[in-house]
Amino acid sequence: MDKSPEIPESPKNPMFAPESVPLIPPRYRLQWEEAQQSHVLLYPEGMIKLSQTAAEILKRIDGRCSVGELVADLERAFPGADLRGDVLEFLEAGHASGWIQVRV
């Protein structure tokens, strides 16, 4: 059978299925920083400066929206882009660093 190219289950990203719901633990705070002209993620005694892509993903993580909905929403906001791979990679990196969890 033909495999649909747009929905490969990447074995590298086992944490995040399309129906998983990512969330940002409450100790992290996402905000726009005028002085840096970028979004940042703040946490106890530290900060991560975010790229525009990272900020667009994080802004949509509210603890309710699933990965599938997140990707769909991003693809509506940025038509023509295939963002699924980027989003999964980002979520996985965030999960490894502790600033993204999966709602259970």
Binding site: P26, I48, K49
Partner: protein, 379 residues
């Protein structure tokens, strides 16, 4: 903290507000100046709020509320409220003394983001000996209350010869208290710690064992507890990138209003640090001679000025250079390339004869008055 966020900026990202030098504890490695008894005046609530606003306008986003013991300021809740309004990420750096249910509730309502709680050790005996108070049980109660109130917690333990061998129980304590972060900060030798240096310097094998235990712990707990290990720089071959460079990302304001590029800088002779009551922070950061004195690389001499590693370590720590070589513009003597590196090796050797050295000095008003002059240039 990740370097990528803090490195490229030429703005202060961190404001450390040392709200008071008063403290109920008497820790032998206190980072307040040895002569703190000479600096009793404290900024008013309004002055602090102005400093917060000016720092925020410059780009500062992390706020450390420290001391002494910041809970001794009855206006702490007001200050947190203003910090929260300004969208600072606020960090209360405390001994826990005075953090009762009522204040925990009020501070939470005011918008306090996080609490860093210090323990001096994982045993009651040593904790209470090193800070010369009976506070171990209180600190345990505070740690549990913090979790009940939903605060993220950094547990901070300063490490040295007397507690490095307790590393396993320190790690267990962090796990039992369910903190999110554990900061294991090997003693840095300034101020009170410098006076007590021969007592506090550990043996190399103590450090090696403790660091290995910490690494095993990290591998076991993963993301549940993030563990920071601050190295004992006397045992290193290269200096720490102190403050990510002078006047690069960090600004400290002392209880009495001096603006400093590092909270130890007050000890440096020949520099006039501006007071926030006399100058706007914007001028202090950008224009003041003190903040420009060691900024960038132009002030450097050999061996730093031609060293390829200067972009990584910024020549190390100016305060340490002053303390160990008498010259704040010299290479940090921790560096094996420094002509003064022998002073560090000498200090490491001298720990073995500490039985004959003077008694351990606790941070007390009496000792402050008595030993202020001995602390190599503390003003």
């Amino acid at each position: 903290m990740p370097a990528d966020g803090f490195k490229s900026a030429s703005k202060p990202l961190w404001l450390l507000a040392e709200l008071t030098y008063r403290c109920p504890l008497h820790c032998v490695y206190c980072s307040n100046p040895v002569d703190y008894t000479r600096h009793r005046s404290e900024l008013s609530t309004d002055s602090w709020m102005r400093v917060f606003r000016e720092a925020r306008a410059l780009g500062a986003v992390q706020l450390g509320l420290s001391g002494g013991e910041p809970l001794l300021r009855p206006d702490l809740e007001e200050l947190v409220t203003e910090a929260h309004r300004l969208k600072f990420y606020s960090n209360l750096i405390t001994s826990g003394v005075g953090l009762d249910e009522e204040r925990l509730t009020r501070l939470k309502a005011a918008g306090l983001d996080h609490v860093q709680l210090s323990f001096q050790d994982s045993t009651r005996e040593l904790n209470d000996f090193l800070n010369h108070t009976r506070t171990f049980d209180l600190k345990l109660r505070v740690a549990l209350a913090l979790k009940r109130h939903g605060y993220p917690v950094v547990l901070n333990v300063v490490l040295h010869r007397y507690n490095l061998d307790h590393i396993d129980t320190i790690l267990e304590m962090a796990e039992r208290l369910e903190v999110e972060y554990l900061e294991l900060a090997n003693t840095q030798y300034y101020g009170w710690a410098f006076l007590n240096r021969t007592h506090l310097i550990p043996a190399r094998d103590q450090l090696v064992r403790a660091e290995a235990a910490t690494q095993r712990f990290r591998e076991r707990v993963g993301n549940r507890i993030k563990v920071y290990w601050v190295v004992s720089d006397y045992y290193e071959e290269r200096p720490k990138p102190c403050m990510n460079g002078w006047g690069s990302v960090f600004i400290a304001v002392t209880a009495d209003g001096l603006a400093l590029p590092c909270h130890q800088a007050r000890s440096l002779p020949g520099l006039v640090f501006p007071n926030v009551q006399d100058y706007p922070l914007e001028w202090i950061w950008n224009e003041s001679p003190a903040f420009n004195r060691f900024r960038g690389f132009d002030w450097m001499r050999e061996p730093c000025v031609s060293c390829p590693e200067r972009f990584k370590d910024y020549g190390g720590c100016r305060c340490q250079a002053h303390l160990l070589s008498g010259d704040a513009a010299a290479a940090d003597p921790v560096c094996s390339l420094s002509p003064h590196h022998g002073r560090v090796l000498e200090a490491l050797r001298s720990k073995e004869t500490s039985d004959t050295a003077r008694a351990l000095l606790f941070r007390t008003d009496e000792n402050s008055r008595k030993y202020a002059k001995d602390s190599n240039g503390e003003r």
